[in-house]
């Protein structure tokens, strides 16, 4: 979810609650005011009637053509005492003229006449108009609420997207940033202090990062490279020693040392290879038919598989084509297959299933899961094979990362399962 949407969403959500509350309060206040007005009118009407009645003047007709109507009746003292002097209520009354019942606001007032008797005056006014009023007010409140919300959302979207423009430019620049290349200039003018600071920090950081990357690259390359010469010297000296007259025991020691040197040299070569992959020193890509490559590789490993008594089965359910460097594609497949054969059990199987998205390699082996979190780490060794470099799967991982392939390990149904997916 983008920052703009998130902010707008949050603003809208908070405003929805706050504005609803406001609208409800506003509506209640309005309604109160309207009722108040109606009551005031009733009171005024009642007062006029009472004044006339007390003055003995003729009262207007109860049904005088307006919607207002009244009743005047005599009540006893007891009734007067037990009932409030003035009361308002919403009732449904039968209006004779219209011959129907209608909701009405009713006011009852009890008053003392000059002759000591009590009169109860009931005045009422139908609330049809009031309902209309309610409805109108409700409509307006809802309408205004909706318009207000829309305007607020629109305005905040505009303000946010305008104010965040430098941030998005910076993000775009970061997307294009590639540590292996000289970064393009960060052209992102802004007057906002925070963004200026962010620009500056990221620019400096990218320069420093690039410098460190270059140093590291040079270091790994140089270190492996510098090791080659001493290794060559040791190896050559020992080989020359082998050609002199030696006892069997001496010869054995020298040859074992030579084997260790060879392992060291293999390790060194793998490290150099790994650092070259990480340094993207294999720029040429071609279309690789994954199934064909696997088929060829399985053929190349048939002898090793036979020796280890491992059955290799290749199953085709799709023919993915990946754009990769040819030698890296080979290294990826070779390392995985070699692993699957070497860390297998006698009489075990390797099943390779290729489908449209990639391939899955399942092999028998030790009966417990390997540590999926560090199986692709450098120098992780699980099988305890002394002559493995512990770099094979790191190379697989590095190649997969280079081409955005997804490589994963699971232990499923007693099989070690490696998935390589696009």
């Amino acid at each position: 979810m983008s920052l703009t949407y998130r902010i707008i969403f949050r603003i809208s959500f908070s405003l929805l609650i706050l504005l609803s509350l406001w609208a409800w309060l506003f509506y209640m206040a309005m309604m109160d005011e309207v009722t108040d007005e109606v009551d005031d009118a009733l009171e005024l009407y009642a007062e006029t009637l009472m004044t006339r009645s007390l003055a003995g003047k003729e009262l207007p007709l109860a049904d005088n053509g307006t919607n207002n109507s009244y009743f005047l009746r005599e009540v006893d003292e007891e009734y007067a005492r037990t009932h409030p002097r003035l009361s308002f209520s919403d009732e449904t009354v039968y209006i004779e003229v219209k011959r129907e019942t209608e909701p009405a606001r009713v006011m009852k007032t009890i008053f003392l006449r000059e002759d000591g008797t009590y009169g109860e005056l009931t005045v009422m006014t139908p609330t049809i108009e009031k309902d209309d009023l309610y409805r109108a007010i409700a409509c307006w409140v809802v309408g205004l609420f909706a318009v207000l919300m829309l305007v607020i959302i629109g305005v905040s979207a505009w303000v946010i997207s305008r104010s965040m423009r430098p941030l998005y430019r910076l993000l775009g620049w970061l997307d294009r940033y590639n540590i292996t290349e000289q970064p393009e200039p960060l052209d992102n003018p802004t007057r906002v202090t925070e963004f200026r600071k962010l620009n500056e920090t990221i620019w400096n950081y990218s320069l420093r990062n690039r410098k460190l990357f270059e140093q590291q690259k040079r270091f790994i390359g140089n270190a492996s490279h510098e090791l080659q010469t001493p290794l060559a010297i040791c190896q050559s000296r020992l080989e020359m020693l082998c050609n002199t007259e030696l006892s069997e025991e001496q010869m054995g020691e020298i040859i074992k040392t030579l084997q260790t040197l060879e392992h060291l040299s293999e390790l060194n070569r793998s490290l150099l290879f790994l650092s070259k992959i990480d340094n993207r020193q294999f720029p040429e890509v071609v279309a690789i038919d994954v199934y064909a490559l696997l088929e060829q590789t399985v053929g190349e490993y048939r002898r090793l598989a036979n020796k280890e008594q491992v059955d290799v089965h290749l199953h085709e359910a799709g023919r993915p084509v990946w754009m990769m460097n040819e030698s890296l594609a080979k290294a990826l497949v070779h390392n995985l297959l070699r692993n699957a054969i070497i860390h297998n059990t006698k009489g075990g199987r390797v099943d390779i299933a290729v489908d449209a998205e990639g391939f899955v390699m399942r092999n028998d082996g030790v009966a417990t899961s390997l540590d999926a979190d560090c199986i692709f780490d450098r120098f992780y060794k699980a099988g305890g094979k002394p002559d493995s470099t512990g770099l094979g799967l790191s190379i697989v991982d590095a190649i997969a990362r280079l081409y955005n392939l997804d490589v994963s390990y699971q232990f499923e149904a007693g099989k070690h399962t490696f998935r390589v997916r696009e």
């Binding site: 010469t229 001493p230 190896q235 080989e239 020359m240 069997e248 010869m251 040859i255 090793l304």
Partner: protein
Amino acid sequence: MKILVVEDEAALLEVIRRSLELEHYVVETAETSLSALRKVNAYNYDCILLDLMLPDGSGLQLLEHLKKLNRQESVIIVSAKDSIEDKVAGLELGADDYLPKPFHMAELHARIRSVIRRRQQAGSVQIEVGNLRMMPDKHQVEVGGVPLELGRKEYDILYYFINRRGYLIKKEVLAEAVWGDDIDQADNYDFIYAQLKNLRRKLAAAKATVEIKTVYGFGYKLCEKE
């Protein structure tokens, strides 16, 4: 045979020189690009072993210079930089071979023999050790002038040993060289024993004065019988 070794690493230079002298080559050495240039300008060599990374410049410049002078020396590049680009650049500039460090001495000798042979006239494209004679262009072997019938793999093994005579060849290395890459993980070399047994039997039957010795179970070595 005169060989110039251009290598700035003194220890490696010493080992290479000693090893070459054991094979009766005349060895000259140079530790910098400049001294190599002087020697090349003053003398002729049969073969030059050239390190690419020299303190005063790249060995490729020296190679370029040789090419400009249209010299006939065979050049073998010996480099710790195991990169395709360097290999391609070197071979394009007329180098005859490219050997990445670290290498086996036996391999170095084999390469030197091979490039020197390539430069020699057609009549001498044959290798003689004792009474054994190999003619690589015709894929033929003679013992004391009598042709010896060998299987393809047997021939390959013998050819490999002849070029590395006197050196201990590890069975892994032999297997990889003769049978290919995919078996370097193998630890069962029955197929090598079988081929070697046949080869030895044939050599002995033809009364060859060379033999392939087993060295304590680690590997093999081709020697002349005393």
